[in-house]
């Protein structure tokens, strides 16, 4: 029971402190899940993000379910997921009920101009950490480069890119093993 509560509260913190969707959640997850709790590793987080891109649903929710399940089984998955959604439920309900023009307030706009800058810096740091753990060879560096260009410059769907990257992984490893033999 204690584990479920810890999962719920940890993911509630992550949900309540993340601005701008699944990607900006990464720095928060690295801090809370990898550094503070040791529930997962940087490379596993990369796995979960990759799978979450190609499965239905919100990325943040999918990642929460993955980690909750890993820590404490099916109910762990459910508690973590409810935790990450809970702050949105509370905050958005209050705004929808009382503050329809919330986003137009000058003070909110100024605060978010600052927050957007901060989110950039945090994502940059998060990518650097992830890079160290996932780009480990020339072949992985090539995969990074190709996927980055196709996604950033040509907006190719993540589903296609992730599928191709998975197939490349298998081909590269098979060829390498043959060479060793």
């Amino acid at each position: 029971m204690r584990t479920y509560l810890t999962l719920f509260l940890t993911f509630m913190r992550i949900g309540g402190l993340t601005f701008g969707g699944g990607y900006s959640m990464l720095p928060m997850m690295q801090r809370e899940l990898v550094e503070n709790h040791g529930w997962t590793t940087e490379s596993e987080l990369a796995d979960y993000y990759a799978i979450s891109q190609c499965t239905p649903g919100v990325i943040a929710i999918n990642t929460a379910t993955f980690i909750g399940y890993k820590v404490a089984g099916v109910f762990g998955g459910i508690f973590a997921t409810l935790g990450v959604a809970f702050p949105s439920l509370v905050i958005i309900t209050i705004i929808a009920a009382f503050l329809q023009n919330f986003a137009d307030l000058a003070v909110v706009q100024h605060a978010f101009a600052g927050i957007r800058v901060c989110v950039c810096v945090l994502i940059f740091q998060a990518v650097r950490k992830l890079w160290k753990n996932t780009v480990v060879s020339t072949s992985t560096a090539i995969i990074f480069g190709v996927v980055f260009i196709l996604s950033a410059a040509f907006s190719i769907s993540p589903i296609i890119l992730v599928t191709l990257a998975g197939i490349s992984g298998v081909i590269i490893k098979t060829v390498q093993n043959k060479e060793v033999k």
């Binding site: 949900g15 601005f19 701008g20 969707g21 990607y23 900006s24 990464l26 928060m28 801090r31 490379s43 990759a50 891109q53 499965t55 239905p56 649903g57 919100v58 990325i59 929710i61 993955f66 399940y69 998955g77 409810l82 990450v84 949105s88 439920l89 958005i92 309900t93 929808a96 009920a97 986003a103 909110v108 100024h110 605060a111 101009a113 600052g114 800058v117 901060c118 989110v119 950039c120 810096v121 945090l122 994502i123 940059f124 992830l130 996932t134 780009v135 992985t140 560096a141 995969i143 996604s151 993540p158 992730v162 990257a165 998975g166 197939i167 992984g169 298998v170 590269i172 490893k173 098979t174």
Partner: protein, 181 residues
């Protein structure tokens, strides 16, 4: 009865929108056309609010629209609807992964997936940079110097002192309000 339909409609959104919160938008417009529960203007308002509040965009969207449709209970039902498919799908994938984690094939797939995942996050970061540092107007695109200065200072801070990411977000929000960014 409307609650059941609300749950079902958002269950469908959760099931069919692949790749994160913004992918839910076309589905929301579709629900609006079909049911008249909320207007297209509500959806636009929702995007603004979602970008100015914490939490995953998909969940924020469900809560907001659910509240407009049927108050607090509507908000809860729509939110549960959008997260339910993700929980089911990810729990199944987690189970399968548990079984095959040791297999060389799965290991090789992940070898290719991990750098791709990092690249996709980096590519999403590019979009965030565009929104944070550049002002796009009728006359053209200009870089916003004060935002850039804040970014550089934050980057130095993040590298020098390892505080919780949320603290940097708070600092950035306060700076944004004080300097009217």
């Amino acid at each position: 009865m409307i609650l059941l339909r609300l749950f079902f409609e958002f269950f469908k959104v959760g099931l069919f929108s692949v790749g994160g919160g913004l992918a839910t938008l076309p589905f929301l417009y579709n629900i609006s056309d079909k049911t008249g529960w909320f207007t297209h203007a509500d959806v636009t308002n929702l995007i603004a609010i979602s970008e100015s509040t914490p939490g995953p965009i998909g969940v924020n969207a469900a809560t907001y629209v659910g509240f407009l449709t049927d108050g607090l209970i509507g908000a809860i039902v729509a939110t549960l609807g959008i997260i339910a498919p993700a929980i089911i799908v990810i729990l199944i994938i987690s189970r399968v992964l548990d079984k095959f984690q040791k297999s060389t094939l799965v290991q090789n797939v992940f070898y290719g997936l991990r750098p791709a995942s990092t690249a996709l996050i980096a590519s999403a970061g590019v979009l965030v940079v565009k929104n944070a540092f550049f002002l796009i107007s009728a006359t053209g695109v200009s870089i916003q110097i004060p935002h850039l200065i804040l970014g550089v200072i934050l980057l130095i801070l993040v590298n020098k002192i390892n505080l919780h990411p949320a603290l940097y977000i708070l600092i950035a929000a306060v700076v944004g309000i004080i300097f009217k960014l």
